[in-house]
Amino acid sequence: MATTPRSGGVGGAGTATRPNGTSQNKSCQFKLVLLGESAVGKSSLVLRFVKGQFHEYQESTIGAAFLTQTICIEDTVVKFEIWDTAGQERYHSLAPMYYRGAQAAIVVYDIQNQDSFQRAKTWVKELHKQASPNIVIALAGNKADLSNIRVVEFDEAKQYAEENGLLFMETSAKTGMNVNDIFLAIAKKLPKNDGANNQGTSIRPNGNETNRPTNNCCK
């Protein structure tokens, strides 16, 4: 039948190396939500980050798109579960379902659109009030490729971000400017020590606790 003995002892040493046994591979998973007025470029940022693409005419998001993207920082693999939400005001009441439980949020505005910046501030306020208290929030001034016709000044947004403890970057989904960087900055700021990361505990065999011989294992 479908059984094979576990340790047949045939043919040389076992080659059961497991790449995840080593300390290089801590991994974490985070939920990240994008918020902001409609047409500021939330989906485009995600598309640029996840697929490296840009569509001049990105369809309006009706719902919440879900994508994943994994990046490495130092020795940690960080997997983002990205929820790209619809920006239209009529869907506002559904937003809490998406930012609730999120560890990170990117609040996006369009540097050519003062209203979208004001709306971003409202989002930040709402997140501070209702989202998880440890949420890492980044403010993204998107469409930075059009900075010659900007209406939201960089310094103004930067100052606002500093006052409110936000990460801040001007981004361009079109050129890719700062897109990876903003996600990377978030990943760096997120705490990565929690979760079931296992390494380090079993490496001190001289300590009394871990030296305890175990009973015969099942075989």
Binding site: A13, G14, P19, L94, A196
Partner: protein, 848 residues
Amino acid sequence: METVGDSVPNGTAPPRTTLDIVKERFKEDEVILSIFDAYQIIGHEYTNRLLALVSSASGGTFAIIAFSYLRTPPLTTVNELIINKVFAIDSSFQIRQDSMGSINTQQFDLSTAEDGPFKYYYFPTESSNYEDFHAKITSCQRSMAQYDPEAVLNFRWLNDYRQIGEVKQELKKRESEYIVYEDIHIFCATWNVNNKPCGDGENPLRSWLGHTAQPPDIYAIGLQELYAPAKAMAYEMVKTTQMGGIEKTWIDKIMASLHPDAKYEVLGTQRLVATMLTVIVRQQIRPQITRCRLKTVARGVFNALGNKGGVGISLQLNEGNLCFINSHLAAHMANVEERNADYNAIVQGMTFDDGRTISDHDHIFWVGDLNYRIQEPPGQQRPGPMSDAQTYELLLQYDQLRQEMQRGKCFEGYTEGDIKFRPTYKYDPGTDTYDSSEKQRAPAYCDRVLWKGTRIEQLAYNSIMEIRQSDHKPVYAVFRVKIKTRDAVKYKRVQEEVLKAVDKRENDNQPQINVEKTVIDFGSVRFNEPVTQNFTVFNNCPLPVDFSFKEKDIHAICEPWLHVDPRHDSLLIDSARSIRLKMHVSVRTIAGLLRKIRQSDNFDILILHVENGRDIFITVTGDYQPSCFGLSMETMCRTDRPLGEYTQEQIKQLINDDSPEYRVTMPREFFLLIDFLYKQGPKQEGAFPSYDSRQSLGSQFNLLRDWLDSWSDEPFPVNAETAAQALLLLLDLPEQALLEPFVEDLLTCSNKSRAMDYISLLSPPKRNVFMHLCMFLRAGIESQYYDLQQVASIFGRILLRSGECTAWMDYHSRCVQFMRLFIDNDMESLGNGNDGAGSGDRTAGLQA
């Protein structure tokens, strides 16, 4: 990587079984104990599932992995398998069979603490032997139960089969692209110290341990007979105190005697009574060691006391797994079988607590006093000090270890280097002279170093004659081992590529459905007229898709005036499903809908959720045709034209208007109903039979609704009973009870004048409606058209509707009591507050 090509020239590949294919999905230290063909019923279809019962050596645990198929079985490549569910076989795991199965289909449930139960079906055939599958699971559960219940079971290996683990699997597959081999030097040593102290001086063992040209990276030093009191029973007593001290003295001396050109630290020391193994590593490689486990296997007296046996240390250096064993096997010339048995028992018992056995390592080094003797070649046993290689070769022909290895009785797969030194046993302590005592024990190669595994090269193998305190001579061997190591730069590059590819696959393979439209427009929606709309969802992605409407913050998938059918379903590839959406603005839901309309431009937004995929928002809109039903008296008093002529947007403004300006003293619609009923005289008898009459509103009701909402000049369209019903609804449907915000005060009023104080504080429309209603009821009671008690009860509960007070024990009687103050002619003691109500001309007295 040493994979054997599985295609044979000329395309006649040997047929591969499903099991062979499934195996590829797992790692080398994971074994498939059983596979089982099952089904799940998705929608109305049977969907194939393949269940694999897997054991992991590294985790020491078991799990069931359920796969779905990308294509209809039979399986042709491993890529057609998609992990569907993972069940760890822990204490919460359950497999339960339903006894209700039919003759040809059987069913069972799998569940864990986190998940399930999930139903699986199967057709009992020869290939789906449930009893066998079940028995194997049970046996896994049983062996898990042998664990210390406090021990945390290691299911970390399963992470590789849950999302993030996919990356790791992929990385493992591409290992050859980033793995390099790094040379390290390992110094293995063994010495039976014969209960003797270590020796004096600063570094008494330097000639043994510290003489190599190059400093070793790892030392694995095995000692035997560290301390052996005559009575075995005493072992336990001396173990903790004296032995600890002896162990420490030895380790200190060892540390002092290591190669002087490098800095070392002890990685681990494991001792079984008098047999000790210590692994010492160069400080500079210490950070590359990511795992170290210790284990002992006791043999000796009763195979338990541990005067014989083995100790082992397992460690991982970079990507290489190393195992060191020091054993002291049964003594005496004749006990070859016992030695073999000890060896086998150590192999069997040496399972480290992460589940690894000795053979689960890349590089294994076995040292010890193995005690195998030289099977007397007469006259040859005592080679002189200057003997040459041929003498040793001759002796070794009679070496029991080599004989037993040749017979396959022990150390299978192990290698030993050429022995070019004198037998290491038995000397007169302090000399290089073989046993001169009466026993005249024959010299033997008791002390040995063997290895097994790949990329190991022995550089030296020798004994040290000048260390003389024991009756054994110390032995050592030096190895150069090529350790699997990740090239950091290459690894990072591969890792990034893999992450990208896995993300891409995950994102591209995300289940998706298309929705015919994301705005469902009901068009004109009227009170008491249910309407339905259908829309289609279809699956055009290459996977079956489960969808459901997500529960929202209101703890329902939609607002109460909507009904969705089905709420969830599964779509096979290329199939579609029509979703029926029904909207009913009913007595029950009108207040909520009007509230919604005030705040929003839609009736609701549904969240269509695709399992493991995106959410689609479906906006439900329409044009609510305003009606008087559900509106507050104040709102109705602000209208300047029939309600039927208002749009939804206009009515929204009207509802949100809270100025105290009113066009009429009381709502025209209310006035007309009262007027009609009043004029019916005796025909209205029994028109208010019971409160629940409002539950069924027939088509007659809608005629009246239209008549009221159009200010029709036509004759009153319905009978008294329907009019009475409409009157009750007109009063009952607004969000706020007519007598709010004074309901609680009024319920506790004892006399009419107190009550009147509150009534006079009501808004004029409410006050007028109330007074006019009371007058009308009083007249009807007086004429004996209505029963006082009944009417007081019905209207009391409507006018004094209240969330909080309803819970009072005497709420109902208080309602009746209050109503009686106003409608019971016998209780009429004060002048009635006729506030501009009257009858006669239909609209007279209505103008404000």
